[in-house]
């Protein structure tokens, strides 16, 4: 067992966990933050993307213990003050989701994409930027539209950082 402590969505979180516990297991099982999903075991699908210290990571591939002291943001922490993050709103506005399972990871990865590359993203950049996330429902058409809108509105709000 190891003791881990980190800040998740701005709140302190700590527990004694099996040393092999993955960050996604810590989030889902210890904190019951079940918005972060597990869609594969090989870091391919991106359903588990969260932000650690401001960067998107696949939480199925990092040990909870290695996030000691980190600032973690999950999909549950993206909306602030009862208002959806512009990227969340964009996914609804553009029908960027169907079953919703890949959506939390997709949104977290999209926010990171804008944080890294800025709010003016062309379609090819977005499509390439999504190579670490798989969606089986939407054919990506509306996800791309969502990210175009979300990026633009993140730029307009001049708050390129997520809620970290």
């Amino acid at each position: 067992m190891v003791h881990v402590s980190m800040a998740v969505n701005g709140r302190p979180a700590s527990a004694d966990v099996d040393s092999r516990t993955l960050l996604v297991q810590f989030l889902r099982e210890n904190l019951r933050l079940t918005g972060t999903h597990v869609g594969c075991d090989t870091s391919q699908c991106g359903a588990c993307v969260v932000h650690v210290d401001g960067r998107a990571i696949k939480s199925c591939t990092v040990l909870a213990a290695s996030c000691e002291g980190a600032q973690v943001t999950t999909i549950e922490g993206l909306a602030t003050g009862g208002k959806l993050h512009p990227m969340q709103q964009a996914f609804q506005d553009n029908h960027g989701l169907q079953c919703g399972f890949c959506t939390p990871g997709m949104i977290m990865a999209s926010v990171d994409l804008v944080n890294r590359l800025g709010p003016s993203l062309d379609e090819a950049t977005i499509r390439h930027g999504l190579e670490g996330n798989i969606c089986r429902c939407t054919g990506y058409h509306n996800i791309v539209k969502s990210i175009v809108q979300g990026a633009r509105e993140m730029g307009a709000a001049a708050t390129p950082q997520a809620a970290e």
């Binding site: 075991d41 359903a47 549950e76 079953c99 919703g100 390439h128 939407t138 990506y140 058409h141 791309v144």
Partner: protein, 788 residues
């Protein structure tokens, strides 16, 4: 807070919980005191189990129990079933081997279930499973579809000699042979419809929970049809009677067919929960999903098309070998028969069709319905055949199709289906215009100037949805009726709950079904809740697959709303002191004809419950109605998809330059959602054509068992799509809708392959046309051109 009309692209109400991480999927369910299951799976494709020693596993930390097939059999829990009886052409019933939830004496595919370990944590269960010692005697494996029934192959089930489940046929052989004898031209093709793995992003999961106080089992499961799951687990597997078995399918993260079926894992979790009197949870990892989710497609086909001198199709002859895997999954037998052979006429007037299907067992995962289920296979056959026939006879593929289109409705095909409505030339014209078909030669020349090969491919598909008239499918061997149920509960303040037997796992029913209620009752969508996925709440249902929830599920709601309106008019009549026949209902208001006396819907609801204005003996208080809708026919979505692509012959890379689709889904409830369904279907079809293929080696080892080995379509494999619709109203349901969930997956594979072969100038390219496959095919093209 207005009324939402049918046909409005209103945003989805369910999205809020999904985009904020508040969805509630089965793996999010945690019951007090739950234990975790890990399945020990066979590493061999075909072997006898000589001995299982799990004594070390039982002593491992946290282990609660280890069970094998003997334990389940001792409890008289039955095996998994196939719910559709197919008869061979000699009249004999299909030959099905037993399908135990945990293997008994023999394993038949890699991933077959040998034992289950239940422990306090999943990690403990998994660690302990590694301590089980199984002594196997390996047997020769049968993995190849085409040769599975050949003599000398290992026998997989004693009940099915020659590994043959059935030799089925459909159509008039003599008449078709005569058409070929008289033909001016015959086109022949060998086609492989590649095996696919559905891969919804949410892996399957199950939580069994037993309440010893009431002797009731509750099963949370990733199901597209929880009532069918309850029916099968109760009536056939014998876990518990239906009133003691509750099945809950909460938010489900995609299905595409693979979550229709009743699997070993959920059966074992529900059974074991009672056995150990503790909740038992299992969540598939992705490799388990690859190994044990039912796969799709896997046909090997030879087809022949007969033409007369004028280019009219006079006959189609098809022989298909369909791989059903190691066991018959829940609806496996129906997919390559009544969901396939019946659609071989495509959009064309073909007077003679004869189809034979040999279904075989192999040492591979069970194969069952995957998005489209039989219809993509049929569309691939007919759309490849007409394309090649046009090319061989020097005709324009678009015009050749037009020459042969069905233009008068209803149209009885020679393969059971009676098409009820459509306008095939209109969809073709619109698609050709949108795709700038006329401008293709210039674009081809521009590509050629860059050293690229450009091609265009048309797919004029038709499918049968709205599955299905119960008596009709019963006569074809279905074990269930395929109606749908609905209950509309109006609350005293005028809000409404709709309980539906349909199940949403991405389709947006909470929005579209609420649109129907809003438009019909004149109340805001916010005042409507759609309840589904719980057998304790919804009395009965057949679930969601076969693009049936609009045409069948919403028709049941429509019928229940008819009853609500009729009852409410009676109540309104009493309130307005007018006879029921004089009451009109419009825009949420009941009005006495020709007067300004009116009462709104909410007030009528309240009056229905307080029952002060009428005699409760003559008119029952309350406002709640239910209905079952049994379809009168299948529905027939149809359309034209056009793929235009460019090949780099140096690398084999394929770039889809533009995708045009014109679909006829009848009336649309929410065009935004319809388009989304088409997008997703196209992506899966492009995946089949270019990227995805489940590959077993000769020993029956699955070589594509992770996302690193099985190529899922990603954002940069696809273009944005140009999607439009035309509308012919479906005459067989009150809403005039046809269904849209599978169309894209049905239409797209032949569009891609027709485009690839157009670009290549020859027909020798198989699915999935990976860069390697395309590079080889392109070398042939370049050598041929160099020689010319």
């Amino acid at each position: 807070m207005g009324v939402t009309a049918l046909g409005a692209s209103v945003k989805r109400t369910e999205d809020i919980r999904f985009i904020t991480g508040k969805g509630h999927y089965v793996d999010d369910v945690n019951r007090h005191g739950q234990a975790f299951a890990c399945f020990l799976r066979s590493p061999h494709a075909h072997a006898t189990i000589d001995r299982i020693d799990f004594s070390a596993a039982l002593k491992a930390p946290g282990v609660v129990a280890v069970f094998t097939g003997d334990d389940i059999a001792a409890d008289k829990v039955g095996g998994l079933i196939c719910g559709w009886m197919i008869h061979s052409k000699d009249g004999s019933p299909m030959k099905a081997g037993a399908h135990p939830a945990l293997a008994q004496g023999k394993v038949r595919y890699v991933g077959d279930h040998v034992a289950v370990v239940i422990a306090d944590t999943y990690a403990q269960a998994r660690d302990a499973a590694e301590k089980i010692e199984v002594q196997y005697t390996e047997l020769p494996a049968v993995a190849d579809t085409a040769s599975a029934a050949k003599s000398g192959q290992a026998q997989i089930h004693d009940a099915a000699p020659g590994n043959t489940v059935y030799n089925w046929h459909l159509g008039d052989k003599a008449a078709t042979d005569a058409a070929f004898a008289a033909a001016k031209h015959v086109t022949k093709l060998d086609l492989v419809n590649n095996r696919l793995i559905p891969n919804p992003m949410e892996p399957r999961a199950a939580v069994g929970d037993y309440d010893s106080g009431t002797d009731t089992i509750t099963l949370y499961t990733t199901s597209q049809n929880p009532h069918v799951a309850r029916l099968v687990l109760s009536a056939f597997i014998g876990l518990a009677p239906e009133h003691k078995l509750r099945v809950i399918a909460p938010d489900v993260g995609g299905g595409f067919g693979s979550k229709i079926f009743i699997y070993a894992e959920e059966t074992v979790c529900a059974w074991a929960a009672k056995k150990i009197d503790r909740p038992v949870k299992w969540t598939s990892d992705r490799t388990e999903a690859f190994l044990s989710d039912a796969h799709g497609r896997d046909h090997v086909t030879h087809a022949e098309l007969a033409l007369d001198a004028g280019g009219k199709i006079t006959g189609l002859r098809v022989h298909t070998i369909a791989n059903l895997g190691a066991y018959l999954s829940t609806f496996a037998s129906s997919v390559p028969t009544y969901l396939y052979g019946t659609l071989l006429s495509g959009q064309y007037n073909i007077p003679n069709i004869y189809c034979e299907v040999d279904a075989v067992y192999t040492n591979t995962a069970p194969v069952d319905a995957y998005r489209g289920a039989g219809r993509p296979e049929a569309a691939f056959v007919i759309e490849r055949m007409v394309e090649v026939a046009a090319r061989e006879t020097g005709r324009d593929p678009a015009e050749f199709r037009r020459t042969n289109f069905v233009t008068a409705f209803p149209h009885q095909t020679p393969v059971i289906m009676a098409y009820d409505a459509g306008d095939f030339p209109k969809a073709l014209d619109k698609a050709l215009a949108l795709a700038d078909y006329k401008g293709l030669p210039a674009r081809k020349a521009a590509s050629a100037a860059k050293g690229k090969l450009r091609g265009i491919g048309i797919s004029a598909y038709i499918e049968a949805c709205g599955i299905a008239p119960s008596a009709a499918v019963g006569s074809l061997g279905a074990g269930v009726g395929l109606w749908e149920s609905a209950e509309v509960r109006v609350n005293p303040i005028g809000t409404v709950e709709v309980l539906t037997g349909s199940h949403s796992h991405g389709q947006g029913h909470e929005t579209t079904f609420a649109q129907l209620v809003s438009s019909r009752l004149g109340i805001p969508m916010e005042n409507v809740s759609i309840v589904h996925g719980d057998t304790d709440k919804v009395q009965m249902g057949m679930g969601t697959y076969g693009s049936r929830s609009g045409a069948v599920g919403m028709s049941a709601i429509f019928k229940a709303l008819d009853k609500i309106e009729a009852k409410a008019k009676k109540v309104a009549g009493h309130c307005l002191e007018a006879s029921e026949g004089d009451i009109e209902f419009k825009d949420g208001k009941f009005t006495v004809k020709g007067t300004d006396k009116s009462i709104d819907f909410g007030s009528v609801a309240l009056q229905a419950y307080v029952a002060h204005k009428f005699n409760g003996q003559e008119l029952e208080p309350g406002l709640k109605e239910s209905a079952f809708w049994d379809p009168t026919n299948f529905t027939f979505p149809a359309g034209v998809h056009i793929c235009e692509l460019e090949i780099d012959p140096q690398t084999g890379a394929v770039t889809i330059d533009r995708w045009t689709a014109v679909d006829d889904f009848g009336k649309l409830i929410n065009p935004m959602i319809v388009e989304g369904q088409v997008h997703g279907g196209i992506a899966q079809g492009v995946g089949q054509a270019l990227l995805e293929g489940a590959h077993y080696d000769n020993d029956g080892q699955l070589l594509t068992a992770s996302f690193m080995d099985y190529c899922m379509p990603r954002a940069d494999n696809l273009p944005s799509f140009k999607i439009e619709t035309i509308e012919t109203v479906c005459p067989s349901n009150p809403l005039g809708i046809k269904g849209c969930g599978e169309a894209g997956a049905i239409a797209s594979p032949p569009a891609v392959i027709n485009a690839l072969t157009d670009a290549l100038g020859h027909e020798e390219v198989a699915m999935p046309a990976t860069p390697q496959v395309v590079w080889r095919a392109a070398q042939k093209t370049m050598m041929k051109r160099a020689a010319e």
